[in-house]
Symmetry: C2
Subunit: 182 residues, 2 copies
């Protein structure tokens, strides 16, 4: 199973691709960050995020995309950009019929460290160990993206297969409607 | 000047196209709602919003897109969907080099009714009058989209022209970068 993890953000959007199955050693295929300039117009930053995510999907052809679930309790300024970047990532995946899963930060932390309240350093250390890397990926957004992918792989495989079938089917049948006058 | 106003939402995304210039009677070219089923997966709903917005851009070729600015103070469940739908609308416009302007709900209300605290009925009544319609557009999201377009037209025309030039220029020069290891 090949999973692209996305830690959404407008300034830094972490991306990481992990391959493997639950119960076996996992392999990192790629990790990086899609960046957009903070002084650019919002619409153009979203276009840049889209172009970045598209390149990762083109290059790695993941079977699943795992995105961090965004909560609006967080910092007001940051959360809107995070929600918007996550929307672009989900859109890119769904357009290709790739199933999208959302995992909360605490689900991800619990999956890789055993504790939902682990700190960044702990997550980075476990990602390094689980993927047999020489050093923790930098920046933290990149490590978080890998942790998301790992978390997704460790979910019930049967559930993933079902979700994949549903997403492929739904992508073939668009779900929009429109009314108009004049 | 032709403006597509977008009142973003996942369940109902209001869209309205208004043509005209400040100080002259305005004309409504189209109004409607892009709907997505509440029980569909989030990624697919975003794809449906994208398809809907693209159709409106194809059909009306607006020179500007005006989107309601989303604040995270609102209802927690709703605001994330609104932020995500608005991201898709901004993305669709920016991808085509169409400048995107954000207006707050109170700016829009003040523009069309004279009061930033006007209610839905007042906004609907003024939109009906300003566009010389027979009845207020329904649902309220559709009327709000028209009010956004009107608000945008009434801003300083020179500022709009500058923004248009910048957006076209920036759309030609992508603003993404990517790092990767392994």
């Amino acid at each position: 199973m090949r999973v692209l993890g996305v830690d959404p953000g407008l300034t830094r959007c972490g991306v990481g691709v992990v391959e493997g199955v639950a119960g076996r050693p996992l392999t990192m295929l790629g990790v990086g960050v899609v960046r957009t300039p903070a002084d650019a117009e919002l619409g153009l930053r979203l276009v840049a995020v889209e172009q970045g995510i598209e390149r990762w999907l083109d290059e790695y052809r993941p079977e699943f995309v795992a995105v961090e679930r965004v909560f609006s309790q967080h910092n007001v300024r940051t959360v809107m950009g995070t929600a918007q970047a996550s929307a672009v990532a989900m859109l890119c995946a769904a357009r290709r019929g790739i199933p999208v899963a959302l995992h909360t930060p605490s689900e991800v932390k619990a999956a890789v460290t055993g504790s939902g309240r682990a700190d960044k350093a702990q997550v980075g250390a476990m990602v390094t160990r689980l993927l047999r890397l020489d050093a923790p990926p930098r920046p933290a957004d990149a490590a978080d993206a890998l942790a998301l992918a790992i978390c997704h792989i460790w979910r019930a495989p049967a559930q993933n297969r079902l979700q994949q079938a549903v997403a492929l089917h739904a992508a073939k049948a668009p779900t929009t409607s429109k009314g108009r006058t004049a």
